[in-house]
């Protein structure tokens, strides 16, 4: 009803903005609680240098976060494959790029912000590595991005571009899967992906692409990330489709707009 009295508006529980205030408070509380608990998990730092306790630490993390899909001993279940023999490098890739833990089941795990700190990832990796021998962390000189970009580009075009696109913009695979874009990916993760062949990516062992060749490819990807685009805005590096859409929508749109102005009567 209309408030026609000259009295000031009521305050207290029935303040008109009380509901809004309560909702904001509730959001802060639930959000803060979530952040605190996850930060709590994340900030459970393990400053251990001892290898055995690293493995133990990893085991505990694994049980809490991974075992429901991958089995308590990494042996696999219906929901997730066996991790026996995948090696520390697979863990570095999957957990380091945030793909694991997987948010929801689907044709493919997607890259997202990592859920764990680097020490935690190292712990998980150590535990998985302890299950059986598998690909380990490489010598950092092989992902230093100081190799031959030209050789890397050529190898990239032959081995990688058919899925990831020549400029690393990503591409489609069958049945809803996709090859992700490679912009701003950590060199170690590029290396790890080549060696471990995550999900449906083929395996590029060191006899197929030597560590030096892998470094060359990483060098080329770093070049793509760092070098300015010589032609201007890249429109997503998607090629003729983006260019065609641009010309029809923006190009012709501008021309038509100008034509309308041109033929309109002056005021």
């Amino acid at each position: 009803m209309k408030n026609t009295s000259p009295l000031p508006r009521k305050r207290g529980r029935r303040h008109p903005l009380a509901g809004v205030a309560l909702m904001i408070l509730g959001l802060f509380v639930t959000g803060g609680a979530y952040a605190a608990t996850t930060a709590g998990i994340a900030s459970a730092e393990t400053q251990t240098v001892d290898a055995a306790s690293l493995v133990d630490e990893g085991g505990k993390l694994f049980l809490a976060n991974c075992a429901s899909c991958h089995g308590t001993n990494g042996e696999g279940t219906d929901a997730g494959p066996s991790l026996i023999g995948v090696g520390a490098l697979s863990v570095e890739f999957q957990v380091g790029t945030g793909r694991m833990p997987m948010a929801a089941s689907g044709p493919q795990a997607e890259r997202k912000p990592p859920q764990f700190t680097q020490p935690q990832i190292d712990a998980l990796a150590a535990w998985v590595a302890s299950l059986a021998p598998g690909p380990g962390m490489p010598d950092p000189k092989y992902y230093a991005a100081d190799g031959d970009a030209a050789n890397g580009a050529e190898l990239f075009r032959i081995n990688c571009a058919m899925c990831h696109n020549v400029a690393g913009a990503g591409g489609a695979l069958t049945e809803g899967k996709w090859a992700p874009g490679l912009a701003d990916v950590d060199p170690i993760h590029v290396y790890a992906a080549m060696v471990t062949g995550p999900q449906n990516m083929p395996v590029f062992n060191d006899m197929n692409l030597t560590p030096e060749e892998k470094n060359d490819i990483i060098t080329y990807l770093a070049y793509l990330d760092e070098a300015p685009s010589v032609g201007g805005f890249t429109l997503g590096s998607l090629g003729p489709v983006a260019e065609g859409l641009f010309v029809w929508i923006i190009g012709l749109g501008v021309m038509v707009a100008i034509a309308i102005w041109l033929t309109a009567k002056s005021n």
Binding site: E175, K177, V203, M207, A227, S229, V230, A264, N267
Partner: protein, 349 residues
């Protein structure tokens, strides 16, 4: 009654058919041109001067832009290897030219719109068809020329002339035969560089591949030994000989009896040239064993001799029979047993 398109001053007996058109007897009449609405620049000299200044400003900006372009071309030299220098040179030269052009364009249009007179003028149309008189004269000219030359009358002369004119282009058709080499292309398409004992080597280095190097889930891009060193005919041979080498768990391979010997311990080799229209089929999914061609999305199942499971391809990818030699290197047992790549008319002959 058909409405003639044409003014009354022309002499026409031609009345075009109206067909299915409805010519109403009671059509509303055209009110004629609406009264001209003066522009603000016509009415007030202040606005006219303002428009003049604006137009001059546009043209002035254009001059500035053109100069900026010429200056930028020199002011932003290209340092070899520094992509940014190339970018800046092109960017500023381009922006300068842009201003130079748009200045003239907008200036001219604004001048026409706001200051020029002569909008809404009327011009009469004449029927596109020539007047009956003109047509008669034209027809008369042809008749006269016919009489004077005897074109319709002298059928032998006329027909042989037409024959000669038709025959003239024939040498042109013949002249183009040497656009291509003499050999029969059908024979060439049926063979590749692969033969018994040719080693499988890595693309592009040409380093041979040992079976032990091909682990499960691997995809090697393969060219025949000798291709990497070629200088003549390299890409032509590669366009038929490119191969994809993969290793599957043996239990995942469903091989037919005749081809069980074509693989080696789960290692299989297939032509990389799509049987649709020839793009390289190279997207290998190591768990689903699908092979996808990125051009038109044909899908092949490596578990089942690369049969087509989706997309426009009509035939499976040809399989290269492989084995190992004495040193453990992978070698071909023979050439492909069918032509690789897209279908063609005499493929099966």
């Amino acid at each position: 009654m058909a409405k003639k398109s044409g003014g009354d001053s022309h002499d026409y007996s031609y009345e075009p058919e109206v067909g299915a058109a409805v010519v109403p007897s009671d059509q509303a009449s055209n009110p004629g041109l609406p009264p001209e609405r003066p522009r603000i620049t016509d009415m007030d000299e202040k606005f006219e001067k303002q428009a003049e200044r604006r137009i001059a400003l546009f043209f002035g900006l254009s001059i500035v832009g053109s100069i900026i372009a010429a200056v930028s071309y020199n002011a932003f030299p290209i340092t070899p290897g520094d992509v940014l220098s190339t970018r800046l040179n092109n960017l500023f030269t381009g922006l300068g030219i842009t201003i130079g052009l748009l200045g003239i364009g907008f200036g001219a249009v604004h001048w026409a719109k706001s200051l020029m007179h002569g909008h809404e003028l009327v011009e009469e149309r004449h029927p596109v068809r020539g007047t009956d008189e003109t047509r008669e004269v034209a027809a008369g000219m042809f008749t006269q020329a016919n009489k004077e030359s005897g074109f319709t009358r002298r059928s032998l002369v006329r027909n042989t002339m037409i024959g000669a004119l038709l025959a003239t282009p024939i040498p042109a058709v013949a002249l183009f035969r040497d656009l291509a080499p003499k050999e029969n292309p059908n024979d060439v398409l049926k063979h590749t560089m692969w033969e018994a004992g040719t080693r499988l080597t890595r693309d592009p280095s040409g380093v041979p591949i040992k079976a032990s190097e091909v682990t499960i889930g691997s995809a090697f891009h393969v060219i025949p030994e000798g291709l990497a060193e070629m200088h003549e005919h390299k890409l032509e041979e590669k366009a038929k000989a490119a191969v994809l080498l993969m290793r599957l768990p043996v239990e995942d391979l469903n091989e037919v009896e005749e081809r069980k010997s074509w693989s080696y311990e789960g290692i299989v080799a297939y032509s990389k040239i799509c049987t649709h229209v020839g793009c390289p089929v190279a997207l290998y999914e190591q768990h689903t064993h699908h092979l996808l061609c990125p051009c038109h999305q044909s899908e092949f199942d490596v578990s089942n001799h690369c049969e087509v499971i989706f997309g426009p391809a009509a035939r499976p990818l040809p399989q290269l029979p492989i084995t190992i030699d004495a040193e453990g290197y992978l070698v071909a047992q023979s050439d492909f047993t069918e032509p690789v790549g897209p279908s063609f008319w005499e493929r099966e002959l």
